[in-house]
């Protein structure tokens, strides 16, 4: 266990982190430019989880939120969510959950649950239930209709996350499929996704 933990952090995996963080930010920016109703700001973290494993993805999630936090401290507490998404994606990949479209969709749903379960307590305890993004409006609507705070936050973030995460994992699936065997062979979990069949 100790050995595999250290092995995850090889040079190629570490050099993937800056790119993945930038992909997270650029994905969010592109979604904004194209005026899409979802964020798409965890694509990089999920890619790292899929091809380089949970621990490298943990670091990617953490760095993403720290860098976002430089200009908007609201991101700092949500570093936990990014970390959880990265670790979750890494373990799902380890057990072969990104190998086909149906399995990928299932892992998108699992990642949604991870994201909601980790982020809802942060939203409630740190920000009292709302943070001013789109899901806040839905939370407010649920509260006005008489729901309790916890269930309002859980259901509103579930509604906004599910589309985002399922689309994100599908994009990741197609991007990993487009990666060359030459590159994948250098990543820890890459052999799972190589086109040439290796019977290991």
């Amino acid at each position: 266990m100790k050995r595999s933990f250290k092995d995850d952090f090889n040079m190629m995996a570490m050099l993937l982190i800056p790119i993945a963080v930038a992909v997270n930010l650029v994905g969010f920016q592109l979604a904004n430019v194209l005026r899409l109703p979802i964020f798409l700001d965890t694509i990089g973290t999920i890619i790292v989880g899929v091809i380089a494993g949970p621990w490298v993805a943990l670091l990617t999630g953490l760095i993403t939120n720290l860098i976002n936090g430089i200009f908007n401290p609201v991101y700092f507490p949500y570093a936990l969510t990014s970390i959880a998404i990265g670790v979750g994606a890494g373990y799902l990949s380890k057990y072969g959950f990104f190998k086909s479209v149906p399995k990928t969709i299932i892992s998108g749903i699992i990642i949604t649950f991870i994201a909601v379960i980790v982020s809802a307590p942060i939203t409630v305890f740190v920000f009292g239930g709302v943070t001013g993004n789109t899901s806040s409006l839905i939370t407010a609507a649920f509260l006005a209709s008489g729901q309790q705070l916890w269930s309002a936050v859980f259901s509103s973030s579930f509604i906004t996350e599910i589309a985002d995460k399922v689309v994100s994992v599908l994009i990741v699936f197609f991007i990993v499929k487009a990666m060359s065997d030459r590159y994948l062979s250098k990543m820890n979990y890459g052999h799972l996704y190589m086109k040439r069949n290796n019977k290991k």
Partner: protein, 247 residues
């Protein structure tokens, strides 16, 4: 840049100061102190010559969040004493107090961190973390991330323009716009990861992963103030904790 006592402090000292503010905001009860902290931060920003950027970022990042949180707490926090009501909306005293407490804390802590990153170069901060034990690889990853972000933003724009000339539509219904996302992101990621191999070779040719102590061109020095201030901060926090829980 002009010599400035504040800017010349060791990055760790500034970081401990930020953590110190974070701790006392959470320790002290009530919202008055936390709100009073903001003008203090403004003064520090003015003294360090970063007032304009500081205010800009606070307004952009925190103001809307604070207003929304405050309104939500006023309307929906459970309580008995109704101050004012209109239809299904009722403003309760408990909600008003909790809203003030929450927003004052978020304002104080959030702006303390914003100020920290205004008066500290990220490069210096990472170097000081390296000095206290962050692996050089970690420092390299953080710094190269900061470098690569604007680069990839530019590249994403270039790719999007190129795809537009090929006929990929970026206007229209949600589905049409969503379809433009993948042809932009995929080439961006694939071309970026192609470059990592060369960077790995470059780093290795300079013995980056050799198990020896690294020398750095960039050095930070600690003055006496930098040694004394963290101790003072810690003493004040301990004093406040004792006062809060034993008296």
């Amino acid at each position: 840049m002009k010599q400035n006592i504040l800017l010349q402090l060791h990055p760790m000292t500034k970081f401990y100061f930020t953590l110190f503010l974070f701790a006392i905001v959470l320790i002290l009860p009530g919202y008055l102190f936390s709100f009073a902290l903001f003008p203090v931060l403004l003064l520090i920003a003015l003294f360090a010559g970063v007032l304009k950027e500081f205010l800009n970022i606070v307004l952009k990042a925190l103001l809307s969040v604070l207003v929304i949180i405050f309104i939500m707490q006023m309307l929906f926090y459970p309580g008995e004493n109704v101050l004012w009501g209109w239809g299904i909306f009722e403003i309760k005293q408990e909600g008003l107090l909790y809203g003030l407490l929450l927003t004052s804390r978020i304002l104080a802590i959030g702006s303390a961190f914003i100020l920290f990153f205004r008066i500290t170069e990220v490069r210096d901060f990472v170097k000081s973390l390296e000095d206290i034990g962050l692996p050089p690889m970690g420092a390299y990853v953080v710094l190269s991330t900061l470098q690569i972000i604007p680069e990839m933003r530019r590249q994403a724009n270039t790719i999007m323009e190129a795809q537009k000339t090929r006929g990929v539509e970026t206007e229209g219904s949600v589905l049409v716009r969503a379809k433009a996302f993948i042809p932009t992101l995929t080439p961006l990621i694939l071309s970026s990861i192609a470059g990592t191999e060369e960077r790995a070779i470059t780093l290795e040719s300079r013995a980056f992963s050799a198990p020896v102590k690294k020398t750095s061109l960039h050095q930070l020095t600690k003055s006496n103030i930098d040694r004394a201030l963290p101790i003072i901060f810690a003493l004040i926090v301990i004093g406040l904790l004792v006062w809060r829980f034993f008296f």
